[in-house]
Assembly symmetry: C2
Homo-oligomer: 143 residues x 2
Amino acid sequence: MSILFSRECEYALQAVSYLALKPAGELTSIKDLTKKLRIPYHFLAKILQRLVGKGLLISQKGPSGGFGLAAPAESITLFHVVDAVDGSDFLHRCVMGFPECSGKHPCAVHGTWGDLREKVYQMLVNQNVAQTAQEMRKPEYRD
Amino acid sequence: MSILFSRECEYALQAVSYLALKPAGELTSIKDLTKKLRIPYHFLAKILQRLVGKGLLISQKGPSGGFGLAAPAESITLFHVVDAVDGSDFLHRCVMGFPECSGKHPCAVHGTWGDLREKVYQMLVNQNVAQTAQEMRKPEYRD
DNA sequence: TTAAATTAAGACAAGAAAGTCTGAATAGCA
DNA sequence: TGCTATTCAGACTTTCTTGTCTTAATTTAA
Ligand code: SF4
Ligand code: SF4
Protein backbone atom coordinates (compact mmCIF):
# COMPACT_ATOMS: atom_id res chain seq x y z
CA MET A 1 0.00 0.00 0.00
CA SER A 2 1.15 3.50 -0.67
CA ILE A 3 1.21 6.21 1.94
CA LEU A 4 -1.19 9.14 1.69
CA PHE A 5 -1.16 9.31 -2.10
CA SER A 6 -1.80 6.73 -4.80
CA ARG A 7 1.06 5.21 -6.73
CA GLU A 8 -0.07 7.12 -9.74
CA CYS A 9 0.14 10.36 -7.79
CA GLU A 10 3.59 9.56 -6.49
CA TYR A 11 4.76 8.90 -10.04
CA ALA A 12 3.20 12.15 -11.16
CA LEU A 13 5.08 14.08 -8.49
CA GLN A 14 8.32 12.46 -9.50
CA ALA A 15 7.77 13.04 -13.20
CA VAL A 16 6.78 16.67 -12.86
CA SER A 17 9.76 17.27 -10.59
CA TYR A 18 12.00 15.76 -13.21
CA LEU A 19 10.54 17.94 -15.93
CA ALA A 20 11.07 20.97 -13.70
CA LEU A 21 14.76 20.27 -13.93
CA LYS A 22 14.86 20.91 -17.66
CA PRO A 23 15.10 24.38 -19.19
CA ALA A 24 11.70 25.90 -19.84
CA GLY A 25 10.37 24.92 -23.24
CA GLU A 26 12.49 21.80 -23.60
CA LEU A 27 10.49 18.63 -24.13
CA THR A 28 11.28 15.26 -22.64
CA SER A 29 10.07 11.94 -24.03
CA ILE A 30 8.43 9.22 -21.98
CA LYS A 31 11.39 7.07 -22.87
CA ASP A 32 13.79 9.40 -21.13
CA LEU A 33 11.57 9.81 -18.11
CA THR A 34 10.97 6.13 -17.69
CA LYS A 35 14.68 5.44 -17.93
CA LYS A 36 15.56 7.89 -15.19
CA LEU A 37 12.63 7.35 -12.89
CA ARG A 38 12.06 3.63 -13.31
CA ILE A 39 8.36 4.06 -13.80
CA PRO A 40 6.54 1.58 -16.10
CA TYR A 41 6.48 3.09 -19.58
CA HIS A 42 2.81 2.84 -20.49
CA PHE A 43 1.62 3.65 -17.02
CA LEU A 44 3.68 6.80 -17.05
CA ALA A 45 2.30 7.63 -20.48
CA LYS A 46 -1.22 7.57 -19.14
CA ILE A 47 -0.29 9.69 -16.17
CA LEU A 48 1.40 12.31 -18.30
CA GLN A 49 -1.54 12.40 -20.66
CA ARG A 50 -3.83 13.04 -17.76
CA LEU A 51 -1.62 15.88 -16.57
CA VAL A 52 -1.77 17.38 -20.04
CA GLY A 53 -5.54 17.18 -19.82
CA LYS A 54 -5.44 18.97 -16.49
CA GLY A 55 -3.35 21.72 -18.00
CA LEU A 56 -0.24 21.09 -15.93
CA LEU A 57 1.83 19.82 -18.81
CA ILE A 58 2.07 20.40 -22.52
CA SER A 59 2.92 17.75 -25.06
CA GLN A 60 3.95 17.40 -28.64
CA LYS A 61 3.93 14.37 -30.90
CA GLY A 62 6.45 13.24 -33.40
CA PRO A 63 10.23 13.02 -33.38
CA SER A 64 11.73 15.44 -30.88
CA GLY A 65 8.31 15.56 -29.26
CA GLY A 66 7.64 14.94 -25.59
CA PHE A 67 6.33 16.58 -22.46
CA GLY A 68 7.13 19.77 -20.65
CA LEU A 69 5.71 22.00 -17.94
CA ALA A 70 2.84 24.21 -19.01
CA ALA A 71 3.96 26.95 -16.63
CA PRO A 72 7.13 28.11 -14.91
CA ALA A 73 8.37 25.50 -12.44
CA GLU A 74 8.24 28.05 -9.64
CA SER A 75 4.52 28.45 -10.11
CA ILE A 76 3.63 24.76 -9.89
CA THR A 77 3.29 23.44 -6.36
CA LEU A 78 3.19 19.86 -5.19
CA PHE A 79 -0.42 20.46 -4.29
CA HIS A 80 -1.28 21.29 -7.89
CA VAL A 81 -0.02 17.87 -8.89
CA VAL A 82 -1.66 15.98 -6.03
CA ASP A 83 -4.94 17.72 -6.59
CA ALA A 84 -4.87 16.93 -10.30
CA VAL A 85 -4.30 13.23 -9.73
CA ASP A 86 -5.78 12.21 -6.39
CA GLY A 87 -7.95 15.17 -5.58
CA SER A 88 -8.05 16.84 -2.20
CA ASP A 89 -10.29 14.52 -0.22
CA PHE A 90 -7.38 13.59 1.98
CA LEU A 91 -7.63 17.04 3.55
CA HIS A 92 -10.95 16.16 5.13
CA ARG A 93 -10.83 12.50 5.97
CA CYS A 94 -10.72 10.98 9.44
CA VAL A 95 -7.58 9.03 10.18
CA MET A 96 -9.60 6.31 11.86
CA GLY A 97 -11.96 6.04 8.95
CA PHE A 98 -15.07 7.14 10.77
CA PRO A 99 -17.68 8.11 8.25
CA GLU A 100 -18.23 11.73 9.21
CA CYS A 101 -16.16 14.34 10.95
CA SER A 102 -19.13 16.21 12.29
CA GLY A 103 -17.02 18.48 14.45
CA LYS A 104 -19.96 18.72 16.81
CA HIS A 105 -18.76 15.79 18.90
CA PRO A 106 -15.05 15.64 18.22
CA CYS A 107 -13.01 12.80 19.60
CA ALA A 108 -9.69 13.22 21.33
CA VAL A 109 -7.57 13.08 18.19
CA HIS A 110 -9.84 15.23 16.08
CA GLY A 111 -7.95 18.44 16.69
CA THR A 112 -4.51 16.90 16.47
CA TRP A 113 -5.24 15.12 13.24
CA GLY A 114 -6.84 18.20 11.78
CA ASP A 115 -3.70 20.18 12.55
CA LEU A 116 -1.51 17.59 10.91
CA ARG A 117 -3.59 17.52 7.76
CA GLU A 118 -3.35 21.29 7.62
CA LYS A 119 0.41 21.10 7.95
CA VAL A 120 0.59 18.57 5.14
CA TYR A 121 -1.44 20.95 3.04
CA GLN A 122 0.87 23.83 3.87
CA MET A 123 3.85 21.70 2.95
CA LEU A 124 2.39 20.86 -0.44
CA VAL A 125 1.29 24.38 -1.18
CA ASN A 126 4.56 25.99 -0.13
CA GLN A 127 6.73 23.63 -2.11
CA ASN A 128 7.07 24.31 -5.80
CA VAL A 129 8.48 21.78 -8.17
CA ALA A 130 11.48 23.94 -9.02
CA GLN A 131 12.60 23.39 -5.46
CA THR A 132 11.76 19.72 -5.51
CA ALA A 133 13.67 19.29 -8.73
CA GLN A 134 16.86 19.57 -6.75
CA GLU A 135 16.11 16.04 -5.56
CA MET A 136 16.82 14.96 -9.09
CA ARG A 137 20.35 16.22 -8.86
CA LYS A 138 21.14 13.52 -6.37
CA PRO A 139 23.96 11.26 -7.50
CA GLU A 140 21.64 8.30 -7.98
CA TYR A 141 19.54 10.23 -10.48
CA ARG A 142 22.41 11.53 -12.60
CA ASP A 143 23.08 10.03 -16.03
CA MET B 1 -8.54 4.85 -1.44
CA SER B 2 -8.03 5.05 2.26
CA ILE B 3 -5.86 7.64 3.92
CA LEU B 4 -2.68 6.59 5.67
CA PHE B 5 -4.05 3.26 6.92
CA SER B 6 -5.73 0.34 5.19
CA ARG B 7 -9.45 -0.18 5.48
CA GLU B 8 -8.79 -3.19 7.62
CA CYS B 9 -6.74 -1.06 9.98
CA GLU B 10 -9.41 1.60 10.21
CA TYR B 11 -11.97 -1.05 11.08
CA ALA B 12 -9.61 -2.46 13.71
CA LEU B 13 -9.24 0.96 15.31
CA GLN B 14 -12.98 1.40 15.40
CA ALA B 15 -13.64 -2.06 16.78
CA VAL B 16 -11.02 -1.87 19.50
CA SER B 17 -12.32 1.55 20.49
CA TYR B 18 -15.79 0.13 20.77
CA LEU B 19 -14.59 -2.76 22.93
CA ALA B 20 -12.81 -0.24 25.15
CA LEU B 21 -16.18 1.18 25.98
CA LYS B 22 -17.33 -2.02 27.66
CA PRO B 23 -16.50 -2.94 31.26
CA ALA B 24 -13.28 -4.93 31.51
CA GLY B 25 -13.91 -8.64 31.13
CA GLU B 26 -17.18 -8.27 29.27
CA LEU B 27 -17.25 -9.98 25.89
CA THR B 28 -18.90 -8.62 22.78
CA SER B 29 -19.95 -10.72 19.82
CA ILE B 30 -19.16 -9.92 16.22
CA LYS B 31 -22.87 -9.58 15.68
CA ASP B 32 -23.10 -6.72 18.14
CA LEU B 33 -20.01 -5.01 16.80
CA THR B 34 -21.07 -5.24 13.20
CA LYS B 35 -24.47 -3.84 14.05
CA LYS B 36 -23.03 -0.77 15.75
CA LEU B 37 -20.07 -0.11 13.50
CA ARG B 38 -21.50 -1.10 10.14
CA ILE B 39 -18.49 -3.20 9.27
CA PRO B 40 -19.04 -6.30 7.07
CA TYR B 41 -19.55 -9.28 9.38
CA HIS B 42 -17.06 -11.78 8.02
CA PHE B 43 -14.45 -9.18 7.29
CA LEU B 44 -14.67 -7.96 10.86
CA ALA B 45 -14.41 -11.55 12.07
CA LYS B 46 -11.10 -11.97 10.30
CA ILE B 47 -9.79 -8.71 11.66
CA LEU B 48 -10.72 -9.58 15.22
CA GLN B 49 -9.16 -13.01 14.87
CA ARG B 50 -5.95 -11.43 13.74
CA LEU B 51 -6.00 -9.09 16.72
CA VAL B 52 -6.45 -12.08 18.99
CA GLY B 53 -3.42 -13.64 17.36
CA LYS B 54 -1.45 -10.48 17.99
CA GLY B 55 -2.41 -10.59 21.65
CA LEU B 56 -4.44 -7.40 21.64
CA LEU B 57 -7.77 -9.12 22.14
CA ILE B 58 -9.03 -12.23 23.83
CA SER B 59 -11.88 -14.35 22.55
CA GLN B 60 -14.18 -17.09 23.69
CA LYS B 61 -16.33 -19.40 21.64
CA GLY B 62 -19.80 -20.62 22.30
CA PRO B 63 -22.94 -18.94 23.55
CA SER B 64 -22.16 -15.79 25.50
CA GLY B 65 -18.77 -15.83 23.83
CA GLY B 66 -17.20 -12.93 22.00
CA PHE B 67 -14.23 -10.61 22.05
CA GLY B 68 -12.72 -8.32 24.64
CA LEU B 69 -9.57 -6.35 25.27
CA ALA B 70 -6.61 -8.41 26.44
CA ALA B 71 -5.37 -5.53 28.60
CA PRO B 72 -6.75 -2.43 30.31
CA ALA B 73 -8.06 0.05 27.76
CA GLU B 74 -5.74 2.72 29.14
CA SER B 75 -2.72 0.62 28.24
CA ILE B 76 -3.64 0.07 24.59
CA THR B 77 -2.68 2.89 22.28
CA LEU B 78 -3.82 3.56 18.74
CA PHE B 79 -0.30 2.74 17.66
CA HIS B 80 -0.56 -0.76 19.11
CA VAL B 81 -3.53 -1.39 16.87
CA VAL B 82 -2.03 0.20 13.77
CA ASP B 83 1.21 -1.65 14.22
CA ALA B 84 -0.59 -4.97 14.64
CA VAL B 85 -2.56 -4.55 11.43
CA ASP B 86 -0.60 -2.38 9.01
CA GLY B 87 2.83 -2.41 10.58
CA SER B 88 4.93 0.70 11.02
CA ASP B 89 6.40 1.18 7.56
CA PHE B 90 4.44 4.37 7.19
CA LEU B 91 6.83 5.98 9.67
CA HIS B 92 9.67 5.73 7.20
CA ARG B 93 8.18 6.20 3.78
CA CYS B 94 8.68 9.15 1.50
CA VAL B 95 5.52 11.07 0.74
CA MET B 96 6.53 11.38 -2.91
CA GLY B 97 7.22 7.67 -3.18
CA PHE B 98 10.91 7.96 -3.90
CA PRO B 99 12.53 4.61 -3.29
CA GLU B 100 15.01 5.55 -0.60
CA CYS B 101 15.21 8.31 1.95
CA SER B 102 18.97 8.27 2.18
CA GLY B 103 19.08 11.39 4.29
CA LYS B 104 22.46 12.15 2.74
CA HIS B 105 20.91 14.25 0.00
CA PRO B 106 17.59 15.35 1.46
CA CYS B 107 15.15 17.24 -0.72
CA ALA B 108 13.32 20.33 0.40
CA VAL B 109 10.38 18.53 1.97
CA HIS B 110 12.43 15.82 3.63
CA GLY B 111 12.61 17.54 6.98
CA THR B 112 9.05 18.79 6.98
CA TRP B 113 7.60 15.44 6.07
CA GLY B 114 9.78 13.70 8.62
CA ASP B 115 8.47 16.03 11.31
CA LEU B 116 4.89 15.36 10.32
CA ARG B 117 5.37 11.60 10.40
CA GLU B 118 6.87 11.96 13.85
CA LYS B 119 3.88 13.98 14.99
CA VAL B 120 1.52 11.34 13.65
CA TYR B 121 3.48 8.77 15.60
CA GLN B 122 3.25 10.85 18.75
CA MET B 123 -0.47 11.22 18.26
CA LEU B 124 -0.95 7.48 17.93
CA VAL B 125 1.30 6.66 20.85
CA ASN B 126 -0.20 9.23 23.18
CA GLN B 127 -3.77 8.27 22.50
CA ASN B 128 -5.10 5.22 24.29
CA VAL B 129 -8.29 3.53 23.28
CA ALA B 130 -10.03 4.37 26.54
CA GLN B 131 -9.86 7.98 25.44
CA THR B 132 -10.91 7.18 21.91
CA ALA B 133 -13.82 5.19 23.20
CA GLN B 134 -15.54 8.43 24.04
CA GLU B 135 -16.12 8.78 20.30
CA MET B 136 -18.53 5.89 20.67
CA ARG B 137 -20.68 7.86 23.03
CA LYS B 138 -21.60 10.19 20.23
CA PRO B 139 -25.32 10.30 19.62
CA GLU B 140 -25.03 8.55 16.28
CA TYR B 141 -23.40 5.52 17.89
CA ARG B 142 -25.91 5.08 20.69
CA ASP B 143 -28.41 2.21 20.59
C1' DT C 1 6.33 11.55 -49.98
C1' DT C 2 7.70 8.14 -47.19
C1' DA C 3 9.65 6.42 -42.89
C1' DA C 4 10.50 6.90 -38.18
C1' DA C 5 9.54 8.66 -33.69
C1' DT C 6 6.69 10.12 -30.79
C1' DT C 7 2.07 11.02 -28.10
C1' DA C 8 -3.18 9.55 -27.76
C1' DA C 9 -6.68 6.46 -26.62
C1' DG C 10 -8.54 2.77 -24.82
C1' DA C 11 -9.00 -2.24 -24.23
C1' DC C 12 -6.99 -5.76 -21.67
C1' DA C 13 -4.32 -8.36 -17.81
C1' DA C 14 -2.29 -9.03 -13.38
C1' DG C 15 -2.17 -8.12 -8.60
C1' DA C 16 -3.75 -6.41 -4.32
C1' DA C 17 -7.28 -5.17 -1.22
C1' DA C 18 -11.80 -5.81 0.39
C1' DG C 19 -15.52 -8.58 1.17
C1' DT C 20 -18.22 -13.29 1.23
C1' DC C 21 -19.18 -17.97 2.13
C1' DT C 22 -18.85 -22.55 4.10
C1' DG C 23 -17.69 -25.90 7.24
C1' DA C 24 -15.24 -27.14 11.51
C1' DA C 25 -14.26 -26.51 16.44
C1' DT C 26 -15.63 -25.10 20.90
C1' DA C 27 -18.39 -23.80 24.76
C1' DG C 28 -22.64 -23.27 27.35
C1' DC C 29 -27.04 -25.01 28.56
C1' DA C 30 -31.32 -27.63 28.77
C1' DT D 1 -26.22 -36.10 25.65
C1' DG D 2 -27.48 -33.26 22.13
C1' DC D 3 -28.74 -28.36 20.55
C1' DT D 4 -27.37 -23.80 19.76
C1' DA D 5 -24.46 -19.86 19.59
C1' DT D 6 -20.41 -18.45 18.88
C1' DT D 7 -15.35 -18.12 17.20
C1' DC D 8 -11.79 -20.27 13.84
C1' DA D 9 -9.79 -21.26 9.49
C1' DG D 10 -9.41 -20.93 4.99
C1' DA D 11 -11.06 -20.96 0.32
C1' DC D 12 -13.45 -18.20 -2.73
C1' DT D 13 -15.31 -13.91 -5.16
C1' DT D 14 -15.53 -9.16 -6.19
C1' DT D 15 -13.73 -4.75 -6.81
C1' DC D 16 -10.06 -1.49 -7.21
C1' DT D 17 -5.40 -0.34 -8.42
C1' DT D 18 -1.58 -0.98 -11.11
C1' DG D 19 0.54 -2.26 -15.17
C1' DT D 20 0.60 -3.96 -20.30
C1' DC D 21 -0.50 -4.08 -25.05
C1' DT D 22 -2.18 -2.63 -29.50
C1' DT D 23 -3.59 0.53 -32.80
C1' DA D 24 -4.22 5.22 -34.39
C1' DA D 25 -2.86 10.04 -35.01
C1' DT D 26 0.64 13.47 -35.46
C1' DT D 27 5.04 15.50 -36.37
C1' DT D 28 9.72 15.71 -38.13
C1' DA D 29 13.06 14.97 -41.38
C1' DA D 30 15.38 12.39 -44.96
S1 SF4 E 1 -14.04 13.13 15.79
FE1 SF4 E 1 -12.06 11.99 15.71
S2 SF4 E 1 -12.62 9.89 15.13
FE2 SF4 E 1 -14.42 11.20 14.69
S3 SF4 E 1 -14.20 11.76 12.54
FE3 SF4 E 1 -13.18 13.42 13.72
S4 SF4 E 1 -11.00 12.76 13.89
FE4 SF4 E 1 -12.17 10.97 13.24
S1 SF4 F 1 14.75 13.45 0.31
FE1 SF4 F 1 12.58 14.17 0.06
S2 SF4 F 1 11.83 13.19 -1.83
FE2 SF4 F 1 13.74 12.10 -1.21
S3 SF4 F 1 13.03 10.38 -0.02
FE3 SF4 F 1 13.43 12.05 1.48
S4 SF4 F 1 11.42 13.14 1.68
FE4 SF4 F 1 11.29 11.84 -0.15
